[in-house]
Symmetry: C2
């Protein structure tokens, strides 16, 4: 009986959050571009002003994480210092300066029947973000959702609860002086997992769920959710060095894609190299990687060319997110494509070649969100690709593929006009 009551309370709590978001999203439809920009700048100003309090709340999280024995890298991701808060508020101001994605006429036509059709971009409505650790995601996501006229429900990780609540509190406080209702941004004050499971079944109230975190978390959300999900999934990225590749270019690109920031989804995890150039190019590639502390794991042929550990079958499907690279020697661009099709995550894959035929074949056959030629996979990023800030990187095919910026936070509707038109 008690448990039933608790469940009912939880469900009602989530329902009430969702209804508030829907109401705010309806008001948001009437807020103009300038008012949105002004509101975002007001938020950034208040967060700057309250930086000390945010740092204070953040220290509670950081201290708890240290006491819980969280790894150094994870603790580091949690920390909000002066510089990171400044970068967070700069990010909000940048979003405020981007083009408004809402209200655009995407198509306009008059049909033979006399029906006039306008296809117009509109907000999605209510976005639910579910994410882990880094508290700046709270501010980034709020800014992107508001600029695209969406209400947002933010559910961060339990380890960042105090930080997220502080940021959420000041965002809502800042909104009180603007045209946007405060309920357009709601931050979960409870990290009970059951609440999330209720949240993702609020179909009809919530329009999209964006999970951002581990593959396990994303899969769990996808299975539980009745609301459409756009997942920010894993990146098992490949670089293929073709027989006609430039040696220096190959060395630099592989090094950049592996070493510049190994813990992110667009870093390379597997190197494929054509057998005809492996003897010449692979040692130079390995030399430079080893010098940066990268552990190399090669297939039978690779270990004969350069001394390294042997790769196991499991390596080809592992996203290391670390200074580790698996290496396989292949006999053709076709074999490289087949390997990517089998083990890749449809995120970002690159070919290094001076041959147009290989490039075109790779471009046509590799079915990933971002396919590269003679460039590092590290460019898969909203900022780098000129989309502005991003709320995530989708490696599913529906709705949005690759970096999701403001435009990907909108949908469209058709406005159809006649002068008494009926269907014959």
């Amino acid at each position: 009986m008690n448990e039933q009551n608790t469940n009912k309370d939880k469900q009602e709590k989530i329902f009430s959050i969702a209804v508030k978001a829907v109401k705010a999203s309806r008001k948001l439809r009437e807020v103009g571009t300038d008012e949105k920009r002004k509101a975002l700048n007001t938020i950034a100003d208040l967060l700057d002003k309250k930086a000390d309090d945010i740092k204070f709340r953040n220290e509670i999280d950081v201290e708890a994480a240290r006491q819980d024995g969280l790894g150094k890298a994870l603790v580091d991701r949690l920390i909000l210092d002066e510089k990171r808060i400044k970068s967070m508020t700069d990010g909000i101001r940048e979003v405020a300066s981007l083009e408004d994605p809402v209200g655009k006429v995407l198509e306009k036509k008059t049909l033979p029947s006399g029906l006039e059709i306008i296809k117009k971009s509109v907000p999605l409505g209510v976005v639910a973000m579910i994410y882990e650790s880094r508290p700046n995601v709270t501010a980034d996501s709020a800014a992107l959702c508001l600029m695209s006229s969406n209400a947002v429900i933010l559910r961060g990780g339990s380890e960042a609860l105090n930080s997220n609540l502080a940021i959420g509190h000041y965002i809502r406080e800042a909104l009180q002086a603007t045209a946007i209702p405060s309920d357009a941004v709601q931050v979960f004050d409870d990290t009970d997992r059951e609440l999330v499971e209720y949240l993702v079944t609020m179909k009809g109230l919530i329009d999209v769920v964006i999970p951002r975190g581990s593959e396990k978390m994303i899969n769990h959300i996808s299975i539980k959710s009745s609301v459409p999900v756009v997942g920010h999934g894993k990146g098992l990225c490949h670089i293929y060095i073709d027989e006609s590749a430039d040696k220096d270019m190959a060395v630099n690109i592989v090094h950049n894609a592996k070493v510049q920031r190994p813990g992110v989804c667009n870093a390379v995890e597997t190197l494929l190299i054509h057998s005809s150039c492996a003897g010449e190019i692979l040692p130079a590639v390995c030399e430079k990687l080893s010098a940066s502390g990268v552990e190399l794991r090669g297939d039978e042929k690779a270990v004969k060319i350069y001394s390294m550990n042997e790769a196991s079958q499991e390596d080809w499907s592992t996203e290391y997110l670390d200074l580790i690279l698996s290496i396989k020697v292949v006999d053709s661009v076709q074999e490289a494509i087949e390997h990517i099709e089998r083990y890749g995550s449809r995120h970002s894959d690159a070919i290094i070649t001076s041959g147009d035929v290989s490039r075109d074949k790779f471009f046509a056959a590799v079915d990933s969100a971002c396919v590269y030629h003679n460039a590092s996979t590290r460019f898969t990023d909203g900022g780098q690709m000129g989309l502005g800030a991003e709320i995530g990187i989708s490696n599913q095919k529906l709705h949005a593929r690759g970096p999701m910026g403001l435009k990907e936070l909108t949908t469209y509707k058709y406005l159809l006009s006649g002068s008494g038109l009926v269907r014959p």
Copy 2:
């Protein structure tokens, strides 16, 4: 032990179908526009030639349906006569003549970093269609999927099994003489429901599931599926007659939207009318509807203006798909909008008004795929809206909204080129 083996067999059967589809979809990426058009015309020719056999197989289904005591309307939807087969093959030829949605350059830019980005339309990959009764959907969907370079797995209703298998058989036979592999079209030969449940969990192999049928079926599929779903959902469409509406226009539009084809999702189910004009316009509207045999169910105010049954609370959320109309008198466009927000299905809703202010308010606030001004809701249809044939009508917001034609069966990928670019 036995049951476990059966489940394993079923899973393997579905896995094998999905793998064949994936292989076919990879080959399809290389098939050009002319080859696709030629293949569709070859299919249409063979289906015409085999019309007698298709009718013969169809009669088995129709006879079984009669013996099972299926309603007259349902039996009628099953029947494939000469005329319907001709209309089906004409439909395939029409799809063959549409613009190829694949390989289009959607955006092209060079960023300050020197990175060249091309955003290009590509097929979704493998589409799984789950639908009920009408066997022509088998041919329509196959044509649309092939023209958009997708492989398709078709699972129709058990009552149309023989008809669907016959159509599928000749489509595959026709494909043997074309550049498209036969496995690009696979029709389920077994209507065991468990098979469908395995099908919709083949994430990574199947890219999208399109359920088309009852709301119950769509909800069931949405819950079971780990693959993204684009549902062809219910249509609870409204027409609002504003105070400045033209009387004759209102009478004609409401009559057309209710009577012209009451069993479809874009027919009107609820009429809202402004109190200031209800006295003058409502009797004329009701008169004409009654003359066509429409049962009217009004709220308190409506029944005082014209003699009709009283509507219950349930009526406002009922999709009749029949000659029944619920009627409510409201005091403002705002009240009409709020009713639509509360009870509507975000499909198609119309305002009849000569006032720009009311129209603009309605256009901005009503959050439906298709919002109409002075026109019948019956135009929500791929053909009527100039999209060509449609595979369904989506009333969700992600990926596709409203009629889904060829373009909505594609996604995009980014092709990024540099000359040795690395991220600084």
